[in-house]
């Protein structure tokens, strides 16, 4: 009786904690939703259109590429959908369909699949796509120009551009509570600061992202902005302004901690976050772009392999 039963032989450990890539994607998606839905509320159906097209086209690009390349179909893990959602959240609501399709193609195929797919991309796919879009279609990615036809009950001025052009006097009367509650223009899912923070805290609590990266990045933004602000308060905005405008929060909680392109050791995570944070403010304060977050993330990705070499000595390593 027992002799004829076929047993399974496998290697230890025989237990697993049950974590899965799909779960992580689902949680990131969930955490990003409040801010995304607020964007839909703020900008209406055109924002929903951009988000829907962005998510669906990301998934389809991934499906198409894996088919063509003969790789195992991986759209089920939800990572392509997450890339689509995040990219959509960072675009203006008025982005035309071809811009969205180009963006998702750049993110999914160019920035991720040609490097080998999940886990192999050296740069954050969303940051790559966004950087290329910003360079290619300046007008389309300029929030003042793109959102000119939307009626708002608050000043429809992209604050980062305003500060860059006219100094802190131009934004002297905005309240930080308004910024937290999304009373500003910007990317579809980037204006609702509170929603992004809640999403980020949720992801940290669930262990999906490492707290070191968002925290050190925000600290990097704050410290660098503080220094600039101290040097010339009339020209450079204070830290809280930089923390709550533009792409800072979505970058800190959703872009910088992306697994594949970020470090995993403690000190390197802090350095990586701080580098991104300070580069963001440098670009905003002295660079040519109103918001340089995608470039800052790419710079962070670039130094990641190097800083991740700072690691503890393994147990029993004498030399």
């Amino acid at each position: 009786m027992l002799e004829h039963q076929k047993l399974i032989v496998s290697h230890a450990p025989f237990w697993h904690n049950g974590s899965r890539v799909t779960d992580r994607s689902r949680q990131i998606f969930l955490a990003a939703l409040p801010a995304a839905l607020f964007g839909v509320y703020q900008y209406g159906l055109s924002a929903l259109g951009v988000l829907a097209l962005s998510v669906s086209s990301s998934v389809l690009w991934e499906l198409a590429f894996t088919r063509v390349a003969g790789r195992p179909v991986s759209v089920g893990d939800g990572t392509a959908a997450v890339i689509g959602l995040l990219l959509g959240m960072m675009l203006p609501a008025a982005m035309p369909w071809w811009g969205v399709l180009t963006g998702t193609f750049l993110a999914v195929v160019v920035a991720r699949q040609i490097y080998g797919g999940i886990g192999a991309n050296p740069f954050n796919p969303v940051a790559v796509a966004l950087a290329i879009l910003m360079l290619s279609w300046k007008g389309r990615m300029d929030f003042d120009a793109a959102l000119v036809n939307y009626p708002f009950d608050f000043p429809a001025v992209y604050y980062l551009t305003a500060v860059k052009a006219f100094g802190t006097g131009a934004v002297g009367n905005i309240s930080f509570g308004d910024l937290l509650l999304g009373r500003q223009i910007g990317g579809i899912g980037c204006t609702f600061g509170l929603g992004l923070i809640l999403g980020g805290v949720y992801l940290i609590a669930r262990g999906v992202i490492r707290w070191e990266i968002p925290l050190s990045m925000l600290a990097g933004v704050a410290v660098t902005a503080f220094v600039f602000n101290q040097v010339d308060p009339a020209k450079f905005a204070p830290p809280a302004f930089h923390l709550l405008t533009g792409y800072t929060l979505i970058g800190a909680f959703f872009l910088a901690p992306e697994d594949s392109s970020s470090p995993v050791n403690f000190m390197p995570m802090l350095i990586y976050g701080a580098v991104i944070g300070s580069v963001v403010v440098f670009i905003r304060d002295v660079g040519v772009f109103a918001d340089g977050l995608p470039y800052a993330v790419l710079v962070g990705n670039l130094v990641q392999p190097l800083v991740d070499k700072i690691r503890p000595k393994a147990l029993g390593k004498v030399v």
């Binding site: 027992l2 002799e3 039963q5 076929k6 047993l7 399974i8 032989v9 496998s10 290697h11 230890a12 450990p13 025989f14 237990w15 697993h16 904690n17 049950g18 974590s19 899965r20 890539v21 992580r24 195992p72 893990d77 080998g116 797919g117 999940i118 886990g119 192999a120 940290i204 609590a205 669930r206 262990g207 999906v208 490492r210 707290w211 697994d259 594949s260 970020s262 470090p263 995993v264 050791n265 690691r311 503890p312 000595k313 393994a314 147990l315 029993g316 390593k317 004498v318």
Partner: protein, 424 residues
């Protein structure tokens, strides 16, 4: 399993022996027992044991004339001597003994045991329950400083060593006395879980409490956390003068000198499908299938039978495989509850890096191992530092069989390095 809040480490804890656990239930031996004798390992010497030969209980059976031997747990006749292939090419010879109805005790040890000494220990007790490392312990060329008696099991859910330390503390104390005298060791340390450590003051040794979080009881981590010494990668605690020994092995030595008989029964933890554990005691060589049957655990197709615990055990391919002197637990695992493996690549989430007790760069290591670059893995990414606790694979989001890769890499390097050295 993973909790809602995933920020903290999983904090897998060793099982704690309940205050009043029923003593081990004795599983009677079947009609035959099977012993696994190491070797022949390439040697062509014919086994020095013939079919039909009679053996006595406690008799030393040495097949190839070397230092290796097994101990006959029953009186009977040799029914078969056959090769047995273990994991990673480990060779053994399976000796099957059919039990006779009348037991006869081998009295060589009883005659020799007058005085504890290497000569009375090494030839009789090295294959005793718990596998006392007597060869090393009695090596006069490399004296040891400290004997560490492990009253904590090496895997989750397992209660065997905790039970032996508590229920057979008299034998453990006696064993410590014998070993001190025979091996000339003064310093004896008894390891117990932190919360239970006060109860063992009477045994006769320094007490040290082990943190209940897995894998703190691993010798390398005990060395690090409790003795403040790091075992250099690729070396063992023995190289630093510390000899780790199961409480059961010490108890076996103690009992042997007390009774004059070589102990032949093994205490083990039987872990059922639902993770519930109970203690059983059986003759070494009993097929594990008999233990399951006795406890009403039906083994069906697709199950895993694991020798050892869930993190570090070894799956067996047949319920006919016997209990060995170092089998501290046997476990049945249904197909649904066993960890699956996927072909997903590493997503670089870093969970493994943060949980690794050896502080290894597992995320990078695994890339080298997947590519078969074992030399580079050892040189640049600390392959030798791995203590094989399995936590990296336990938390791996991509379900990469990391421990399997590591074990394979170590095996391959161990196979290749001596050849390279010889040709150098």
């Amino acid at each position: 399993m993973k909790t809602f809040f995933g920020l903290g480490k999983p904090g897998l804890r060793y099982a704690t022996l309940p205050p009043r656990l029923a003593g081990p239930e004795v599983v009677p031996a079947g009609t035959s027992v099977t012993l696994l004798h190491p070797g022949p390992a390439g040697r062509r010497t014919p086994a020095a044991l013939k079919m039909g030969e009679t053996v006595k209980t406690g008799q030393r059976l040495s097949l190839y004339g070397g230092a290796d031997y097994v101990i006959a747990p029953v009186t009977g006749t040799v029914a078969a001597v056959a090769p047995f292939a273990g994991d990673f090419g480990r060779e053994a010879t399976a000796i099957t003994i059919t039990a006779a109805s009348l037991e006869a005790i081998d009295d060589q040890f009883a005659d020799a045991r007058r005085e504890p000494s290497p000569e009375t220990l090494r030839p009789f007790l090295a294959a005793a329950p718990g596998l006392p490392p007597l060869e090393r312990l009695c090596d006069p060329k490399r004296p040891l400083k400290t004997l560490v008696v492990c009253g904590v099991d090496q895997d989750l859910l397992v209660l065997t060593q905790q039970h032996v330390l508590r229920a057979r503390s008299h034998e453990v104390a006696n064993g410590i006395r014998v070993l001190k005298q025979a091996a000339g060791i003064d310093d004896v340390v008894i390891l117990a879980l932190k919360e239970t450590v006060q109860g063992y003051g009477h045994i006769g040794g320094r007490l040290l409490g082990v943190d209940p979080v897995y894998p703190s009881a691993h010798p390398s981590l005990v060395m690090h956390q409790l003795f403040g010494r790091e075992v250099p990668a690729g070396q063992t605690p023995e190289d630093l003068g510390f000899c780790f020994m199961r409480a059961e092995a010490v108890a076996a030595v103690g009992a042997a000198f007390e009774t004059g008989r070589v102990p032949v029964t093994k205490v083990l933890t039987l872990i059922a499908r639902d993770g519930s554990a109970r203690l059983v005691e059986t003759l070494i060589g009993t097929r594990v299938g008999d233990i399951f049957e006795r406890h009403g655990i039906a083994v069906v197709a697709g199950d895993r039978i694991v020798f050892g615990g869930p993190m570090r055990g070894r799956a067996a391919y047949s319920p006919d495989q016997p209990v060995q002197p170092d089998t501290d637990a046997v476990m049945v695992l249904g197909a649904a509850s066993a960890a699956e493996v996927s072909e997903y690549p590493c997503v670089n989430c870093g969970e493994c890096v943060r949980i690794c007790p050896a502080r290894m760069q597992v995320n990078l290591l695994v890339r080298y191992l997947e590519a078969g670059k074992y030399e580079d893995a050892a040189e640049s990414y600390d392959l030798d530092a791995c203590v094989e606790c399995g936590l990296c694979a336990y938390v791996c989001v991509s379900k990469i069989p990391i421990l399997q890769y590591i074990a394979l890499a170590k095996h391959e390097l161990a196979r290749v390095r001596p050849t390279e050295d010889a040709n150098a």
